[in-house]
Amino acid sequence: MKKFKWLAIVMAFGLLASACGDSGSSNDNAADTSTTAAATTAAPVDQTQGGDLTFYMITHSDDGPFWSVVKRGAEAAASNLGVKLVWQGSNNDPEKQVQDIEAAVSAGASGIAASLPSPDALVPPLQAAVAAGIPVITLNSGVNDYETIGALTHVGQTEIIAGEGAGKRFNDAGAKVLLCGTQEQSNVGLEERCKGAENTFNGKVITQFMGGDADQASQQATINATLAADPSIDAFLGTGPVIAMSGLRAAQDLGRTLAIGGFDITPEIIDAIEAGDVSFTVDQQQYLQGYMPVLLLYLNVTNQNTLGGGLPILTGPGFVTPDNAAAVKALVAAGTR
């Protein structure tokens, strides 16, 4: 027993020492690589060859259906261009994303593409990356901060413009009162989708929180109640694919025919669009959000090109409607939409 105790203490000390050593040495590395990185960018272009380039894509990916398409886009670009790609998803953990960015800078990344779900935490490390001479592109979220960072550009969809596109579609459908249902409260992006629709829609827009996707039955009942309370509502925009389907079911239960639109793609909503029950879903074509940053970083590093003239590059809104639903369905199955 006593022996084990001693062993434990010795092991604990060992761990402690190695931990200290690790953190110390990695700090040193960081300092070293940042200086070397600065040196490489200052040096002429011909030093870099395509095959030696390593781009880091550091996002808040949860490896869900949305982000796996982004990942495929980035991988396709990397293999087309013959560069190395390191994909890191943080599953919505800004802390981990900060660490990944710092690690990428230490490792001497040739370029970093990052999403910015929480700017306050992520702007400083990306600014440090830019200061270290690493080209940075923001993707998906971060349209308000890419200039502060000094990023080349932003590749993504602005939620306001996507919402505005949806609002126009409802005008074409002749709707008068639009209910915009969100599935998360205090999510800026979702609120902006509704605000965008409000900007272009000619009638009245009611924005309401309907309950989360984890409890679809309750979401559907809430939409049902909201529709029952206001018979003038003739259109429903769900700020996600699941809530759009809940809206469809609620309307069917009440025997009402609404113009229904959604955001993003699931096999379920595409089937509903094909059947004509849902009018459209807004697609932000996230494949491009993976593909374009890698391509743009490559062109910047190898050829000093920049694209977009300082403005963000928009990948959406693209629309899936009954006209192209079948084609998109095949592409979804292939994993590129």
């Binding site: 984890a214 409890d215 039955a217 309750s218 939409i223 909201t226 029952a228 699941v242 379920e268």
Partner: protein, 630 residues
């Protein structure tokens, strides 16, 4: 006769634990009584605020929301009474639904085992039982708090749902259960629906009125039977009087239905009121012992304080209703209009006042029958005054009609109770035959009320269709919910397993020492929760066809909240399964009421929190009052 009574009283009082408890006291110490009162109050509140809330569509919405939440809340209540928590219960609903879909799905490009549902559904139940067994065994073997163990299971299930669905179908949603073998049969069991508008029933309103009026009458008689001491020899004159009054009551209802003008309505109302008073007096005269000692009016300090406070609050409510501008709908404060503030002040103050007066009546009942009936008479007058105030101050037919007549019925009942309690002797001893009669009457009465409500909800009439009533549907989920709640209530109240559950939740070591198999009981409780999760998972899968991998995550707290709102204690050993069901209904009413009222959803959680807090406080208040007077 009186000798027999006094010996019974003497026997009962010799040991205070065996002392006879009256019908109201027995009702009030039930754990779920506060929740039932809360549910009714919140329902009335939203009924007053919103028009579509009170329709069949509103009821369908509430029941739909209650069903899946309620099944879980009932099971979780049982587990909590047994002293444990299951944080994996929410994630398990989605996990078991997804597991079933994956077992059923075709083995094509999208993966899955491609089993027939008749094999897949029992298999997923086996998986559910295993999850429950695992939770229970881990809690027992490690002696760690179930909070920690099931938190681990929660994360495992949450991760497995995502991991497995991505591995098998490369998506975070798993779908198309409708393409599985055996779908059309199993769909009937888990997802058949009743479309109200497809079912017309011409004499619906007759059966509805019969069920509600007759059922309530039987319930009132049941209370009399419980509350008063039986005569040795029945008095036939009383029976005759009751029969005459019964005929009068029928005549009153006929007058009420046949006439459309206000004068006719008042005539019908007066006939009904007089018949009720005479009938209940006749019923008492027929069956119960006349009061021995009526006593003199004696108002002690306690009683006068309660009544003073009560009358004062009612007066304040009335003043605020009269003085505030009824027509103004301008914003008064944040989201409350002046009209809304007026309604809230009126309803809040008067109901608080009535509550204090009821407490006063209870205090007065300890002095003598006369004082008690005087108090009841004052209460009846106050309620009647409130009814007429509501009628004169409000514009909508909802208040001028329904609320007005319901309040008058309340006043009438208080008045008739005042008459009977000053005329007949209260029973202060156990009497099996009388209790059995009371129970039978209460059972038949409740079934009639329920039947009337069900007929009204399930069927529509040609007139309603003509007015263009929007469709409402009722799913078999509700039947599952009611069955689960009924079976769980029976198990907890009437079986050995139920007693063991209370024992292990109250004090596990003590329970073990008297021979309760504590570990086995707890493990079985965990298995009950996971089986309920299996049922809910299947209900969701057959309803939605496609399940998100996040389905159910985080809902375990809603189940626990519903159980607590329903009167189950967080510490275990106290509560009821039926209360959990009522707790789920309260949450459903609050959730549905907010969108029905058209309130801004930004404030949703403020309302929800406030309502839940009020429900729990009311529950505790009622329980404390009841326990104190035990």
């Amino acid at each position: 006769m009186s000798d027999e009574n006094s010996t019974a009283v003497a026997d009962a009082t010799s040991d205070e634990r065996l002392a006879y408890r009256g019908v109201f006291q027995r009702l009030l110490v039930r754990p779920e009584i506060g929740a039932i009162i809360g549910a009714i109050a919140i329902w009335i509140f939203f009924w007053a605020v919103s028009v579509p809330f009170g329709t069949a569509g509103g009821a369908s919405n509430i029941l739909d929301l209650s069903a899946t939440l309620g099944i879980m809340a009932v099971a979780v209540s049982m587990l909590m009474i047994g002293g444990e928590f299951d944080l994996s219960s929410g994630a398990a609903t989605g996990a078991l639904g997804i597991a079933t879909i994956l077992l059923v799905k075709d083995t094509g490009a999208l993966g899955g085992a491609g089993l027939n549902m008749s094999i897949a559904i029992p298999l997923s139940l086996a998986l559910a039982l295993f999850i429950g067994w695992f939770n229970g065994t881990m809690v027992e073997r490690t002696s760690l708090p179930s909070f920690i163990v099931t938190l681990g299971t929660f994360f495992i299930l949450k991760g497995a749902k995502l991991g497995i669905s991505k591995l098998v179908v490369d998506q975070i949603q798993v779908g198309r259960i409708d393409e599985g073998a055996g779908y059309s049969f199993w769909r009937k069991i888990f997802a058949s629906e009743w479309q109200r508008n497809d079912h017309q029933f011409g004499s619906r309103d007759f059966f509805y009125t019969l069920g509600i009026v007759g059922g309530f009458a039987l319930l009132v008689l049941a209370v009399h039977e419980y509350n008063y001491a039986r005569r040795k020899v029945l008095n036939n004159a009383g029976a005759a009087l009751t029969a005459v009054a019964f005929a009068g009551g029928i005549a009153g209802i006929v007058i009420l239905h046949a006439t459309d003008n206000t004068g006719g309505n008042y005539l019908g109302g007066i006939v009904i009121a007089v018949s009720t008073l005479v009938g209940l007096f006749g019923f008492g005269w027929w069956r119960f012992e006349p009061v021995a000692q009526r006593g003199n009016l004696h108002i002690d300090q306690q009683v006068s304080k309660s009544f003073g406070l009560g009358l004062g609050l009612v007066a304040l409510g009335a003043i605020s209703a009269v003085t505030l501008d009824s027509a103004s709908s301008s914003d008064f404060f944040l989201l409350i209009t002046e009209q809304g503030l007026r309604a809230m002040l009126f309803v809040g103050l008067t109901s608080a006042g009535i509550t204090f007066m009821i407490i006063g009546v209870r205090q007065a009942s300890t002095t003598n029958p006369l004082t008690k009936s005087t108090g009841l008479a004052v209460l009846a007058t106050t309620i009647a005054a409130i009814a007429f105030l509501v009628r004169s101050e409000s514009a909508s037919p909802k208040f001028r009609g329904a609320a007005f007549s319901l309040l008058l019925v309340g006043a009438l009942l208080a008045l008739s109770w005042a008459v009977t309690s000053s005329c007949f002797e209260e029973r202060r001893f156990a009497h099996t035959a009388a209790d059995n009669t009371g129970r039978l009457l209460a059972l038949v009465g409740s079934l009639m009320v329920l039947g009337g409500a069900v007929v009204r909800l399930l069927f529509t009439t040609a007139a309603e269709i003509e007015r263009g009533i929007s469709p409402a549907k009722f799913s078999v989920r509700i039947v599952w919910f009611l069955s689960v709640a009924g079976v769980a209530t029976w198990v907890l109240g009437r079986t050995k397993f139920g007693s063991w559950t209370f024992a292990v939740g109250g004090n596990k070591d003590a329970a073990r020492q008297v021979g309760v198999p504590a570990a086995r009981t707890k493990t079985q409780l965990f298995m009950i929760v996971s089986s309920a999760a299996w049922l809910v998972g299947l209900l969701l899968a057959f309803r939605l066809n496609t399940l998100q991998s996040g389905t159910g995550d985080g809902l375990e707290f809603e189940y626990i909240i519903a159980a607590v709102v329903g009167g189950t204690m967080l510490t275990g050993g106290y509560g009821s399964a039926f209360g959990g069901a009522i707790g789920a209904v309260i949450m459903a009413i609050s959730k549905a009421g907010i969108p029905f009222s058209g309130w801004n959803s930004d404030w949703r959680f403020v309302f929800l929190g406030g309502i839940l807090l009020l429900a729990v406080i009311a529950n505790n208040f009622i329980r404390d009052k009841a326990e104190a007077s035990r």
